[in-house]
Symmetry: C2
Subunit: 387 residues, 2 copies
């Protein structure tokens, strides 16, 4: 970020495809709820969430076929807190949680703050970052393993897991008595007319729902990343008791944001249907533009708003910095998220980068053009890439 | 809480002196900032805080004589998060942090979530919950001790520590190379014309400021508990680096609340001077009323908005529940915070309760009258109290 700020100070326009910060307005009902706040008091919300916000989450889930009761939901300060609570509820210091690499980088932070060891199962870019077979995943499960954590649809890869993949995880969870923490922040962002399949639905049909913990967030589906509202949902009473105690210790999630979330959670479809169409157009633009440069390898993402690309470079951290310090074309450059940040091992993902297609179509096309130009001009280091 | 809800459902008016939830309006500038939110976007704030909110905190501290630079402040989701970040920054799993008992109960929660062991130094109610001498505190410091954590002015006791007490803690911190985490949420609520003395000021004069971490919050001083904005302030760069990483993992504190905090943090005195007067009146009422019942023992609090009372009962948890399930007078009762919740040992503080003087003067007087009536009628258990 300091490099981007410095580039901006030199008068360079930086296209931010590095973070999931959309340029899309939040639903008008949210903004109206904020502007219409009429009380003169700004009181604590209950630790587990305001009754109306919990009710709005149950409405939301019921529309999506989940059927949670109010006591199965705790409102959190963003999806981040839901994930952190889930990690702490299922694992103690020294325990392990299996993740798939590349993975949402903040999982590492939540795990390390709770003294939990994340264990990464490597995914293959050429296979569209789909899950390996059961035996390969099982190699990463040991006596200290407490949970498998997935993001579905995935950040950073844009992959949406198939019913077969989710069934394989359920099978492993049953065999080794593990929790599955499923981060479904991008639930609605599934493209090409596909229907989103949640591992919770499959587990419920199999009578195994008590092993599932959903970590959720309004941030992306309502383009409201600054409103820090998420939730943790589970039918597991023991997990709920533990999470209730964590919630108590931090007092409450923000009152205003909870109120603002109520109208859109209760009636999400008009906004999220429109949003899916918008991101699908953006995905098509970014994928089309990338396809025109044979040096940039990727698979078309099926969901979320990220695409993970493999570049003919030796070290994307260095490349990403160089984009901000030494590259510009007609006064513009771009900022990407280096792939290494999504891996545990320091030498993994060095030729990868995540792009977020959160900008409008023109800016996205421009960002990819800039990326191509940058690859033309980037001075490779002593370690050659695979171009 | 479920008992209080049930009492309410039976038509009983419950006077809530159990929690620090004031009935006082938030500053109008905060409410206007919320209602005037004009953007259609609700974006993430930077992890360390919005530049304008950090600047408002530096303004605020500069008015109070602290003189922090922007990079010495990280905006947090409430004071709770600041405390939790501070605990994690200074101590690893298995390390110890010294607290004084009775203590703010959530310190236990933050410590346990990070695998840190809180070690309690007992305080004497008859001594106004002031700190014991250096040798007594030192007995609780061992090789695993990393920090001493204080709330000043204190929650739950209302005690304000003297320069001599703070000097003693600084001496210990120097001798044993410890951090001091100072929770100054109630900074402005110091009564009887006294001037608040911060351990940070004393440490700065002694050139020892790098050992101090301030955990702060706008919740109480601006009657805005539902706006989850606090901060962590320290001149220690190493601590700041660690806290910056924790902040990054949870993405950001709520954007709206950060914006709402700006005008009052930049110009706090008009509101906080008025608020101090208001709480001083309430403190006087509650102390006067309590003094009329010789069975209720307490010292007059010098700060915050709590008073810790010793009651002629054997088990305040049982008494507090009984108040809600079996007692009422003219359709009213009160809810108190049982003393045991502020102690680590399960059998400590059983004859104590914390009252928050957050209600208006009439309701506070009524709450104390109800407490006296309840003591008349409370059926003592087999273990006799000390009445």
């Amino acid at each position: 970020m300091p490099l981007a700020v410095a580039a901006g100070a030199r008068g360079i326009k930086v296209h931010h495809v590095n973070i999931g910060q959309p340029d899309i307005p939040a639903p008008i009902e949210m903004l109206e709820a904020i502007r219409g706040y009429s009380s003169s008091l700004l009181p604590y919300a209950p630790s587990r969430g305001m009754p109306e916000t919990i009710a709005a989450w149950t409405d939301y889930y019921s529309i999506h076929g989940y059927g949670f009761s109010p006591e199965q939901i705790i409102v959190t300060t963003g999806g981040s807190e839901a994930l952190w609570f889930a990690f702490m509820a299922v694992a103690d210091h020294g325990d392990e949680i299996v993740v798939f690499e590349p993975t949402y980088a903040n999982y590492f932070g939540f795990a390390s703050s709770a003294g939990i060891r994340p264990v990464g199962v490597p995914l293959d870019p050429a296979g569209g970052f789909h899950l390996p077979d059961l035996a390969t995943v099982e190699e990463h499960i040991g006596p200290a393993t407490r949970a498998i954590c997935i993001a579905n649809p995935n950040n950073p890869t844009g992959t949406v897991y198939s019913a077969a993949e989710l069934g394989m995880l359920l099978e492993l969870a049953e065999r080794h008595n593990l929790f599955i923490i499923t981060d479904e922040t991008y639930r609605e962002l599934v493209f090409d007319g596909a229907r989103f399949e949640s591992i919770f639905h499959m587990a419920r049909e199999a009578g195994r729902e008590d092993h599932i913990i959903i970590a959720d967030s309004i941030s992306k589906r309502f383009s409201a990343t600054g409103a820090r509202i998420g939730c943790l949902a589970t039918t597991n009473e023991e997990v709920m008791d533990a999470v209730g105690r964590f919630a108590q210790a931090r007092l409450s999630a923000p009152t205003l944001d909870q109120l603002a979330a109520v109208p859109v959670l209760s009636n999400p479809i008009p906004y999220t249907d429109w949003l899916r169409g918008e991101y699908e157009k953006r995905r098509n633009v970014v994928f089309q533009c990338i396809s025109e440069d044979a040096r940039i390898r990727c698979r078309m993402p099926s969901g979320s708003f990220y695409i993970m690309v493999t570049l003919p470079i030796d070290d994307c951290d260095r490349f990403a910095a160089w984009l901000l310090t030494d590259f510009e074309s007609e006064g513009e450059t771009l900022m990407v998220a280096p792939g290494s940040g999504f891996y545990l091992a320091p030498d993994a993902g060095l030729d990868q980068a995540r792009l977020a297609f959160v900008l409008n179509e023109d800016d996205l096309a421009r960002a990819v053009t800039l990326l191509s130009e940058a690859l033309d001009r980037y001075p490779m280091g002593p370690v050659a890439g695979h171009a």
